[in-house]
Structure formats: C-alpha cells, structure tokens
C-alpha cells in the first residue's frame, strides 16, 4: 500500500438516522468485547420546541493527522500506519493509558485483555479492497470512506461540494472524520 494515501471518513449528518447499525457491524467485525464500543452515535438537538434542529453523528476515532495519542505513547505501541490510520500494536502496549488521557475525543478504551483498543478504520478490510464494516452496512448510505489525496475519490468530491465540519478543530489534532452539515 502506498504511503501517500490519506484515508478519511465523511459522515452525512443529513442522512444519518442514528440506527446504530454501524455500532453493531463494528462489534461483529472486530470482536469488540461486551460493554465497549469503537464507534457510537451522538444525537444533538438544539433550540426550544417547536423550533428544534437535530443532528445525528456516527462518531469514532478521528485518525488525526497530528495524533496526540501517538505523541504521548511511551513505547511506540500507538503509531501511524498505512494511509494515516492510527493503530495500537497490542504486543507493545503496557496499558499505561497515557493515550486515553491525551485523546480529546475519548475514542480509546482499555480492552479487558490489557491493551488499549480503538477504531482501526477496518484497515484489515481496506487493505483487501473492502470498505470498513460500519460503512458497508449503513442503510442510509451516510458513511463514506476513501482517500483524501485522490481528488477523484468520493470523500474528496463530497468535501469539495458540501459544507462540512470536524469535531473540536481547536485541539489542533487535524481530525480526519468529516461531518457534512
């Protein structure tokens, strides 16, 4: 896999109905232990009845371009892999939890087996030419995955044509999960 790919996810908040299919697909695909989730739904309601607006977001690790979890890892277990995907090498992880504390999105959790676990953008599937499990099952097609460095990719096109936001840009982490608004 070439090093100059930049994987990203685009979530269309106008299509998401917060059905949690992405959460279940992830749990099945990645054998996420009971009681934990690598992705989740946020339902944001603003205003006062009857003048309400709602936004549904399927959230996960942002695979930041400047990941503080990787910077704070004392053993090199947290690292940037192919396409900018942030991964944890289980064998190197001591479970010190510095990465968990340094993640502004609280996307990591301590796996019952001891190491720290998180979303991998399903890199094992992506390297086989498939889509991440959450994207694959989304019934409203609100999740899009692809290479930002390829101007022809669906994610690049969506970010060119639609208004979008990222979560907490003020952290300076340069997240790579984008939300179409």
């Amino acid at each position: 896999m070439s090093r100059d790919k930049r994987y990203a996810m685009v979530v269309d908040t106008r299509l998401c109905v917060a059905c949690k299919a992405c959460v279940l697909a992830c749990k099945g695909e990645n054998a996420v232990p009971d009681g934990f989730s690598r992705d989740w739904l946020v339902e944001e309601v603003r205003g006062w009845f009857p003048h309400l607006t709602a936004e549904n977001r399927s959230e996960r690790c942002n695979h930041c371009a400047k990941p503080p979890c990787v910077a704070s890892c004392p053993t090199g277990a947290s690292h940037v892999s192919d396409g900018g995907v942030v991964l944890v090498t289980h064998d190197k992880c001591t479970g010190c939890k510095a990465c968990i504390a340094s993640c502004p999105y609280d996307s990591r959790y301590p796996h019952p087996d001891g190491y720290v676990d998180k979303c991998t953008f399903c890199l094992h599937r992506v390297q086989d030419g498939k889509l991440p499990a959450c994207v694959e099952v989304c019934p409203t097609f609100c999740l899009h995955f692809g290479d930002l460095n390829d101007p022809q990719s669906e994610v690049s096109r969506l970010l060119r044509e639609r208004k979008f936001k990222v979560l907490h840009p003020e952290t300076g982490c340069q997240p790579n999960v984008f939300f179409l608004t």
Partner: protein
Amino acid sequence: MNDAMLEIVHGRANAQIDPSLQVWGWEIPVYLFLGGLAAGVLILPALLELLSGKKPKSMALRLAPWLSAVLLSLGMGALFLDLSYKLHVYRFYLAFEATSPMSWGSWILLLVYPVALLLGLGGLTDDERQRLGAFAGKYRLASLVTWALGHADALRRPLLWAAVIVGAGLGIYTGILLGAMAARPQWNSAILGPLFLTSGLSTGAALLLLLRLDEHERHVVVRWDVGAILAELVLIAVLLVGFATGDRTSQHAFWHLTSGPWAAPFWSLVVVTGLGVPLALEAIEIRRRLPLAMLTPILVLIGGLSLRFVLMISGQASSFREFP
C-alpha cells in the same frame, strides 16, 4: 435562548471512559506524590552540601539519597499496579519516544538509582563503611563495595550535581506528564512542571524535618521549606491566572478549581491545610525560635498528596465533551 442544546450519546458506555474519564485511580496521584518526594529528598541534601562544602552531619541527611531510592521504588510499585498490561512493563525500556513525557520519565527513573546509591555510599562514616565491608565480605562482595566506595568518594561533587539535575528532571516530569495533555483543559498548563517540582521540594523538606536532624541542618531545612511553600503559592496563583485568562476551556478549568466541584478540597486541603497553615506555623517557629512542631511537616505532606489527588480527579473529569 437559541443556544439551548441537548446531546445524547447512543451505543457507547465504555468502562472507565464514560460518562467521564476514570482511567487513573489512586495509583497515579500516589506515584506523582512519591516521585516528587523522592526528588525533594534527593535534591535538598545535595544542594545543602554543595552550598556549605561540608558533608551533612546527621544520619538522616547522609542517607537521604537511599531514602529517596526507597520512596521512588514505592512510587514505581504504585505505577506498576496501574498498568493494565503488566506483563509488558519491560516495553518502557525497549523504546525512547522523544514526544512522550512518560518515556522521558521512565528513563529518568532509571538514572536516579545509580546516583542515589553512590551518593548514599559516599555519605557513610568510616565506622559504617567498615561494617558494610564486613557484611559484604560474607557474600564475597568486599571488592565490589571497595570499588563503589572509591568511586563514590572520587566523584562526590559530580554526583551531587547529578543528584540536583536528575532530581529536578524527576520533579518536573511528574508535572509535565499531566501538563502536556491538551485533551484535559484542567491539566493543560506548563506551570504544572515547576509546580510539582516545588511541591516535591517542600514535601521532601517536610519529610526530612520528621527525621532526626542536626540543629543547624533543621534550621536551614525549615527556611528552605518556607521558601518552597512561598514559591508554590506563587505558582498556584500563576496557574489560576493562566486558566482565568485563557480560552473557554481554560476558564472552565479555573471555575472548576476555584468555585466549582473541586473548590472545597482545593481550597481546604491544598491551599489552607497544605500551604497556608504550615507557612504560618513555620514563620512563627522561626521568629519565636520555637522548637518545630511535628504537625507542620505532616500538614505539608497532606497538602502535597492532596494537590496530586485534586488535580488527578478534576483533570480526568475535564474534557472537550463539556464543550460541544
């Protein structure tokens, strides 16, 4: 009221992460306290000897470097208990990650031991050296002890400087460990480094005051403790000014500590019990030439431990999740 907002999170209730972070329990604040204490106990006698040019008289100060190593080992024991993948602890020493304060810390911890060991050896009296030699002789280690004692004496001055530098590194890193995390507004201040070092010096002095010191030594250590407490008060004030004048996350951190949910332990345990009261007692004791009450150093130690606990708990509770 157009800014009313409700955020509901579905499909996630990760243990230790939700609803707010609780990944670090009592082990980490206890370690940070003991690490600071070890730094203070290592630095103070070394500085005293560098400034006076004379070896300390009391046994407590002569063997303080060994006490420092014991305290640090207890702290590292707490740190080990915190690891959720304990079998992989050796991984800390198969890597050096320049951007990770924890990696710096784990290597600094290793530097403390040889410095503390040799410095303590060099502080032994002739009588103690003979007894140590005889003891080591039983295990055929007499030549090793002679060799170590020779180096401890020959390198006394460089070792004293090494103790000050490594001790300062240890004290500062315990604060930077938390301060470097932008994700936790309550910790995200570079002041935490010098603050934890100063608190380490103050608690280190307090612990030494609980031991049997020479009259002159006690006099000096009390004065240093007064200086450290004053410096700590200034640093806490600077920390709060930094929070109060920062962005909304910092302002929230300011509110958290000064009048919010953590205000009661912060003001009562850290500021009044741990700093204000001991400062007043020490000032009175110096002025009136009174013998030092045991209570004063105990209050300083309670304050140092409380500082770590308050910051550990409040820092984990602070998150960008509070600012959707």
